[in-house]
């Protein structure tokens, strides 16, 4: 039993307090925007210069002046605002974004994250990832799968890939669990129903402890 990407996105969206300012990274984090609970209003920030980002628009009806950081055509909601790049990253660096939600190759028990670069022949490209992890009040990581394709843990003791930031991740959402990164190490706050604690530990590269009120995650 594992969570789908949609399940994870829904859980993440549910954990965001109303009124929050949230930046969604390119890829799976974007999906969170589709699951905003109807009883809550929170504001999506896109680092290319907009607050109040609305849903992606259907193919063919894009306004290419109105895109998100992933260069998709999107919309703007009432109450939104446009601003330039220095102001946009002033918001990020200055700690005004409540939550930055990103994907990652690796997240470590000390809060380090590696999500920008796998050494190789292609030119290194970082975008806004390093600014977001260093600047947002909270950094949450979403992992579509708890382990890599070859079974290696993505939640590790120490990252082996080039870092995006040090000691900055507060929480990890995967298809198996929700894990807080605390000064005392990894604390599981929820895990999928039916999974054994030892099974989760076996797929995780650093020691886990379990919150007293550790909850169940159910696939939809």
């Amino acid at each position: 039993m594992k969570l789908s990407a949609a399940d994870i996105a829904q859980r993440v969206a549910n954990d965001i307090a109303g009124g929050s300012y949230v930046n969604l990274g390119i890829g799976m984090p974007m999906l969170v925007g589709d699951y905003i609970p109807v009883d809550r209003e929170f504001t999506l920030h896109t680092e290319n210069g907009m607050l109040g980002m609305g849903p992606a628009v259907p193919e063919g009806s894009e306004d290419w002046d109105l895109i998100n950081a992933g260069k998709q055509g999107v919309s703007i909601l009432p109450g939104g605002a446009f601003f330039h790049h220095a102001d946009s990253f002033g918001m990020i660096r200055g700690g005004h974004i409540d939550i930055s939600i990103l994907g990652a190759y690796e997240v470590a028990a000390n809060g380090d994250i590696a999500n920008w670069h796998i050494p190789g022949p292609r030119p290194p490209a970082v975008g806004g990832a390093m600014d977001l992890v260093a600047g947002a009040k909270q950094v949450w990581v979403v992992l579509s799968s708890h382990v890599s394709k070859n079974g290696a843990p993505k939640v590790v003791d120490r990252c082996t890939l080039p870092l995006t930031g040090v000691g900055c991740v507060k929480r990890v959402y995967s298809d198996l669990a929700v894990i807080d990164i605390t000064p005392e190490g990894l604390v599981v706050v929820a895990m999928v129903e039916g999974l054994g604690r030892d099974e989760l530990q076996a797929q995780t590269g650093a020691p886990l402890t379990f919150a007293a009120d550790c909850g169940n995650l159910k696939a939809a």
């Binding site: 260069k71 990253f89 030119p123 930031g165 040090v166």
Partner: protein
């Protein structure tokens, strides 16, 4: 009378000593939004060499920045995300070691340009501390946190894309096509602008880039 409007691209780039071999060029835009591609196309035939281009991306295809790179005008790219589905020209040159790349975090790049325009030679940021992109850079602790010292960027020429401009050089932008453009407009000796539409006057509360930052501009019409 102050009038920064010129009639065509030829007039825009004429008598511009900052368009020279070895120049540092700021190119606005993010993705396809707000890129002054028509200006870059006008500059390609000048056959400049050893340009350093500061741009969020590396251009796509062989139009605009892609063409400028392909024609051998660019020796160094300063960029946050120098690859896309369509950036083969840059990537091949990079793999062959024929073009230099400085990868910069996006917010650090924006702030370095803003600093250059605002007379700040250097500042400290927590971004990139402890990563590859801070290697070799000075670090310093303030209130228990570690920061990296970054330098302002000042350029010879900024190439800006705007939505509207008036004769004083005041500019507005369209939605997220604003991006780096207003910041870059402040940080170059010469700021050249392509505007979609000349207008009589931008209301003073709505000006995004005041004309003080603009040298000349040309009307390019609505994009299709």
């Amino acid at each position: 009378m102050i009038d920064k409007r010129v009639k065509d691209m030829a007039a825009l780039i004429a008598d511009c000593p900052d368009l020279k071999d070895g120049a540092i060029i700021l190119l606005g835009g993010f993705g396809d939004a707000g890129v002054a591609e028509r200006l870059v196309e006008a500059i390609c035939p000048l056959g400049l060499r050893n340009l350093t281009v500061v741009s969020n991306g590396a251009g796509g295809g062989d139009y605009g920045l892609g063409r400028l790179i392909k024609e051998g005008c660019v020796s160094k790219l300063v960029s946050t995300f120098p690859r896309s589905s369509d950036s083969k020209i840059f990537e091949d040159l990079y793999a062959a070691g024929e073009i230099e790349l400085e990868t910069v975090p996006q917010g650090t790049m924006a702030e370095r340009i803003r600093a250059g325009g605002a007379g700040i030679p250097a500042f400290y940021t927590a971004t990139a501390y402890g990563t590859l992109l801070a290697e070799g850079k000075e670090t310093r602790e303030f209130e228990g946190r570690q920061y990296v010292m970054e330098r302002g960027i000042k350029a010879d020429v900024a190439l800006v894309h705007a939505a509207a401009g008036d004769r004083w050089g005041n500019l507005t932008y369209s939605k997220t096509a604003r991006n780096f453009n207003p910041v870059m407009a402040t940080a170059a000796s010469t700021t050249l602008v392509e505007v979609r539409q000349f207008v009589d006057m931008i209301p003073p509360e709505e000006v995004i880039t005041p004309g003080i930052f603009v040298d000349r501009m040309v009307e390019v019409g609505e994009l299709t």
